[in-house]
């Protein structure tokens, strides 16, 4: 395999082990249940099934967008990928190496190669440290001399569009939200990661600033050959930035596929409802009827069978009886965990290529 000739994959990165065909990240059956304890004895009363058997791959150099509503487990998933919390079950393979197991890659090494940017730009910076110090902190913790780390920090601040002479010595409270998020991006890049997990990284920013940061992320990705996992609730932003999109509902993946295909012809009724719930942007074509009613159910006691069946316009008996499977997420495939997509499921609409329109 001659990945050295590929323009996207500079052979300079000695950390690339499997070549461009090997996924940078593979996740199989990842699960995290949080126990709810109550009473004086602290007995476990129930479990929040935050992430419940999630499998997907992230290819080198792509952006995988993850969308879903609150409580669908997308942020828990991000924290699991960074091992900020420990999964109950499932495996995570980073460029061919299992994470956190004997003979694989250690969590410390994973965190050199994967970094994260959080939603709240203020609380993720140390308020008592000049931002330049925050950016240099990671490399210094990994043994870089202070002078080199500071030089690197200043270079990175320039890269994210902040003049280090002007901003390097400032404290977080002296910066605006957009500037702080640029600092957080610079800090995430300080260890020269290969993958960056962006958890609602632009959601708290004003629209005019959000567009600036999104453009910056695309430039950085190209220049540094990064791979992104981009988590957001904003369907418009995810479409613009992602190559592939994964839709989550109550801790499970309901649909995954190339961004254009998924937005043009969603295969899961939930994805369809989510897309149809976007405001129209045109006062002459207002939505008259909401695509689905009610709120997402509580992840403590998710409905049996397909978790969306309580709100799905196409729900039939099979939907509450058996949980549909997503299938094997091979490279680039467009899959949905819905009985309608499986001709053998017994659903009356099974095998239809296109979902009936909502309202």
């Amino acid at each position: 395999m001659s990945f050295a000739t590929s323009p996207i994959w500079p052979p300079a990165d000695p950390r690339d082990r499997g070549g461009p065909q090997q996924p940078l990240l593979m996740v199989r059956g990842l699960q995290k249940h949080f126990a709810i304890r109550n009473g004086v004895l602290g007995r476990v009363a129930a479990h929040v099934r935050a992430v419940d058997g999630v499998s997907f791959t992230v290819h080198k150099g792509e952006t995988l967008g993850i969308v879903g509503e609150s409580g669908c487990g997308k942020s828990t998933l991000a924290r699991l990928l960074m091992r900020l919390i420990v999964p109950d079950a499932g495996e995570q393979i980073f460029d061919g190496d299992a994470v956190g197991v004997q003979g694989g890659i250690s969590v410390k090494d994973l965190r050199r190669q994967a970094q994260m940017v959080f939603q709240d730009s203020s609380s993720s910076l140390n308020p008592r440290m000049p931002v330049q110090g925050s950016v240099a902190f990671g490399p210094m913790a990994f043994g870089m001399p202070k002078a080199d780390a500071t030089a690197l920090a200043r270079e990175l601040l320039t890269k994210v569009g902040l003049n280090p002479a002007l901003f390097g010595g400032r404290y977080p409270h002296e910066l605006s939200g957009g500037q702080k998020q640029r600092v957080n991006i610079a800090r995430a890049l300080a260890l020269k990661p290969r993958m960056v997990i962006l958890d609602e990284a632009v959601s708290a920013l004003d629209k005019s600033v959000e567009a600036q940061v999104l453009n910056l992320l695309q430039v950085l990705k190209r220049e540094l050959s990064l791979t992104y996992v981009f988590i957001s609730h904003d369907l418009g932003v995810v479409r613009w930035i992602s190559d592939r999109v994964m839709v989550m509902y109550l801790g499970e993946v309901v649909e995954i596929g190339p961004a254009d295909a998924l937005y043009a012809a969603p295969k899961h009724p939930y994805t369809q409802a989510l897309l149809a719930s976007r405001p129209s942007m045109d006062p002459d074509r207002r939505r008259e009827e909401a695509p689905v009613s009610g709120d997402p159910p509580n992840p403590v006691n998710p409905p049996p069978g397909c978790r969306f069946h309580t709100r799905c316009p196409h729900a039939e008996r099979v939907c509450s009886a058996r949980a549909p499977v997503l299938g094997d997420a091979a490279a680039g495939a467009h899959l949905a965990a819905c009985h309608i997509q499986n001709p053998a499921s017994g659903h009356s609409l099974a095998g239809r290529p296109v979902l009936p329109a909502l309202h």
Binding site: E69, S208, R286, D295
Partner: protein, 332 residues
């Protein structure tokens, strides 16, 4: 005809927050009028003064730290001159307000039905039992499923969407003439947000009330507004019908906001952006506040705050570069 009398008249409203170190000029001369039954969206980014304007209408700003100038009249009454009793009658009676986070608007240890019953009993002078009957009607009005049971729920037992519906029920309990809605759908999930928007639109039409809806989301404005007011740095920079403003914006800031909102743009091209960041409200630039970020700015933009101009009926913008504009004596 009653329609010819404006319900809300705001003239040259300005709000300064004064502390020992600084003087934050949050609102700098806002003018608007609203007719009964109208839905106006105040659109703007964080810090543009839209929520402060809302709070000034209800006189909810801290009296010691805020300096309010200008005139606010609601239903013929001068809000600035109201005494405590008149103010209490207005809040929840003539004007009521819903917020982004219903959890902070409800008392967490009182059942939601009792909270609504209390408000009705207080304002209408009826018994608690009668108030509770009214609360049930309101829960049916806002389409809460199994309303009888939900009246006995505590706020934390309701889902986000139901909680927001319960807050709308509380706000409507005394049939207000004006509803102030401060980002009421921002914290909701996408599939729930559209339900609440459609509900608010239907209720507004059924009850014929006026609504001022504060949002930063152009899509939300497109769904609900008759008229929009675009705010920037404490000023209304453009007003007009939602159709006109979203389809053919006059002010460069409005155009920039529309262009930089991510909505089905081609993926292989850069997003259009507005360079720079909103100004520091402690230290506003002289002249047009948007001039430092404006692609069309020239020297004259920095001399004085641009006067409102109206190039066509019903449309007003504060920009020197708006073509064919006639200076306006009175802000429509």
């Amino acid at each position: 005809m009653t329609m010819s009398v404006p319900l809300v008249e705001v003239e040259d409203l300005s709000v300064n927050f004064v502390t020992r170190e600084s003087d934050v000029r949050a609102v700098n001369g806002v003018n608007f009028t609203m007719m009964p039954g109208e839905v106006m969206c105040m659109l703007g980014e964080s810090g543009s003064g839209k929520s402060v304007t809302m709070r000034a209408l209800m006189r909810l700003l801290p009296p010691k730290r805020s300096v309010i100038r200008g005139r606010i009249r609601i239903a013929g009454q001068d809000v600035q001159a109201m005494g405590d009793a008149a103010l209490r009658r207005m809040r929840g009676g003539t004007v009521s307000m819903i917020f982004q986070e219903p959890m902070t608007a409800f008392d967490p240890v009182v059942r939601v039905g009792d909270q609504i019953a209390e408000v009705v009993a207080q304002h209408r002078g009826v018994s608690r039992r009668e108030g509770r009957r009214r609360a049930l009607d309101l829960f049916e009005l806002v389409r809460i499923p199994s309303p009888e049971r939900r009246l006995d729920a505590y706020p934390h037992e309701l889902s986000g969407g139901l909680r927001q519906r319960a807050m709308i029920a509380l706000a409507l309990s005394c049939e207000p003439k004006l509803l102030l809605a401060d980002e009421p759908t921002t914290a909701l999930d996408a599939t729930v947000q559209i339900q609440v928007l459609i509900l608010l639109r239907k209720l507004q039409q059924e009850l014929g009330m006026s609504v001022i809806f504060v949002t930063h989301d152009l899509g939300v404005a497109a769904e609900i507004a008759d008229r929009v007011a675009i705010m920037y740095a404490g000023r209304v920079v453009e007003t007009g019908s939602v159709r006109d403003v979203l389809k053919a914006p006059l002010h460069p800031y409005t155009s920039g906001l529309l262009a930089s909102t991510v909505h089905d743009q081609p993926r292989d091209r850069e997003l259009e952006t507005i360079p720079g960041a909103p100004p520091d409200m402690r230290n506003l630039p002289p002249g047009c506040s948007f001039a430092p970020r404006c692609p069309q700015a020239a020297g004259d933009c920095q001399l004085a705050v641009p006067p409102p101009v109206s190039p066509s009926p019903g449309r007003v913008a504060r920009c020197l570069r708006v073509a064919g504009a006639q200076p306006l004596m009175e802000f429509a």
